[in-house]
């Protein structure tokens, strides 16, 4: 019998069909797989019980979901960051939404805080209309009342700026986001109240 390795091969057909490995690793691998495998559930109940671990064995899906959430968070952070940069850090590009009272002391409320986080067009339209008519409405109030209203609006705007600055440091903070939205609501409440009070009038002096 010739030695297949040492003998000289002249044709392809002379090559051996199978070459046995020096040792068979498959047997130990199969045994390991059997040890770690979950047994096939025999009943429907067993199948249900094993559903939860089965879901846990889906790392690719979890990874994709986690990645999507992370991307969404990054996107939100970028959007908020851009908003903060645009509306707070770069006042030169603020929209022309200003509160200026005729003949009243306007200290503290000369610049209405722009709406950087609320994009509902109905809200924006309503707010803009209320701000436009604010001067006329304030003119109907007595100087003492007007001063108190302006102080209150200044308080709200100062609070909005504090919250926005805090959001700049922690864009994903749910508490801050909620406080900011509520501050917008408070501002709307005051503007609406002034609108109604201005309809009633107090004194123009």
């Amino acid at each position: 019998m010739s030695d297949p390795v040492n003998s000289r091969i002249r044709r392809l057909s002379e090559l051996p069909r199978d070459i046995a490995p020096p040792h068979d690793g498959w047997t130990s691998l199969e045994a390991k797989l059997r040890e770690s495998a979950v047994p096939e559930p025999a009943s429907e109940a067993e199948r249900h019980e094993t559903a939860e671990p089965a879901r846990r064995r889906r790392p690719p899906m979890m990874r994709i979901a986690g990645l999507s959430a992370a991307l969404a968070a990054v996107f939100a952070a970028v959007v908020i960051g851009i908003s903060i940069d645009r509306w707070i850090l770069s006042p030169s590009v603020r929209p022309a939404q200003h509160i200026v009272a005729n003949g009243g002391n306007t200290a503290g409320v000369e610049g209405g805080v722009p709406v950087a986080y609320v994009t509902d067009p109905r809200y924006l339209h309503e707010r803009e209309a209320l701000l436009r008519s604010l001067n006329a409405r304030l003119a109907h109030l007595s100087p003492a009342t007007r001063q108190k209203v302006l102080t209150s609006l200044a308080t709200i705007h100062q609070s909005m700026q504090q919250i926005q600055q805090a959001l700049g440091r922690e864009p994903g903070n749910a508490l801050l986001q909620e406080l900011l939205i509520d501050s917008y609501q408070n501002e709307m409440q005051v503007l609406s109240t002034i609108q109604q009070a201005g309809d009633g009038g107090e004194t123009g002096t």
Binding site: T145, S152, Q162, S183, G201, G204
Partner: protein, 307 residues
């Protein structure tokens, strides 16, 4: 010479006062009214005093300081309207044409008795509003005047811009909404639902039974004492104001502040949201009952206790 001028000025002022006193008068009228109808009252300046009584009649008394003020009363389908006009202006849309051409001397004091179960809608501008003994729903609005009212058990609403609001409930279940811009708000012995909001005024509320209480200020402090109904909710929020919340009953609570402190009488310590960033929170439960308390602030301190 200057003495003569002074004397003339005093004389002129005296004559003016005498002339005004001559024009001052008291208006008084009674009209039949639906015992559970609606009474609308509006007066720009002065006082509005409302009293509930057990007669099916609306009685109006007004102190008119001059000849330019009038009181108009009308009734229509169970609705009685009482309105003060100044130089023929001021009704329906009170003060819409009020240009400040008359001063405080023109203030009119209105005292009105209404059937106890009436619904009352009162509107003033710089007029103080006082209400006693009315069991029906009340809507009270003033710009710079104060509001001081006893409430029945209806759906009540009080709104002011710079005036203070003081409301005393009957302890019976109802729904109350209070808003003020810069005035202080004080609510006592109400039950059921309360929604109160002020910007920089102080908010103080006492609920004998709270089904839902929602309180909000910007910089004003909040002081709430309440017994929570089973499954009831309390939500309180400030930006920089301090909150002192005392609520009895069983509930889960969550307290959050960004840069303020959290204190409680449960022996529980608030925790930092993260090791390096700002923010603290306190979560837990107190007894049973399924109630829920949610308190939050940007920089205000929060104190929660059940006694």
């Amino acid at each position: 010479m200057s003495t003569s001028i002074s004397r003339m000025a005093v004389l002129a002022a005296s004559l003016a006062l005498a002339a005004q006193a001559a024009h001052a008068s008291t208006f008084q009228q009674q009209v039949a009214a639906d015992p559970s109808g609606e009474v609308d009252v509006s007066n720009i300046s002065g006082d509005i005093v409302i009293n509930g009584w057990d007669k099916p009649t609306v009685s109006v008394t007004a102190d008119l300081p001059g000849s330019t003020q009038r009181v108009k009363i009308s009734t229509d389908h169970g609705r009685t309207s009482v309105c003060v006009t100044y130089n023929s202006r001021g009704c329906n849309s009170p003060g819409s044409s009020y240009d400040g051409s008359f001063g405080d001397d023109s203030s009119v004091r209105l005292e009105i008795y209404v059937p106890r179960r009436s619904e009352v809608d009162v509107s003033g501008v710089s007029a103080d509003i006082r209400s006693r003994g009315v069991a029906g729903a009340q809507q009270l609005r003033s710009v710079s005047g104060d509001i001081d009212a006893e409430l029945g058990s209806g759906d009540d609403e009080a709104q002011s811009v710079s005036g203070d609001v003081r409301l005393q409930g009957s302890g019976r279940d109802g729904r109350l909404r209070v808003t003020s811009v810069s005035g202080n708000v004080t609510v006592k012995n109400v039950a059921g639902e309360l929604e109160a909001r002020t910007v920089n005024g102080r908010l103080e509320a006492g609920l004998s039974t709270a089904r839902m209480a929602r309180l909000n200020t910007t910089s004003g402090d909040i002081d709430l004492k309440a017994a929570l109904d089973q499954g009831g909710t309390v939500e309180s929020e400030t930006v920089s104001g301090t909150q002192k919340i005392q609520v009895g009953g069983g509930y889960a609570y969550e307290v959050k502040t960004f840069s303020g402190d959290i204190d409680d009488c449960f022996g529980q310590k608030s925790e930092r949201n993260s090791e390096y960033g700002p923010g603290r929170h306190l979560d837990g439960t107190r007894g049973a009952g399924g109630g829920h308390i949610r308190l939050q602030s940007l920089s205000g301190d929060i104190s929660l206790c059940d006694r």
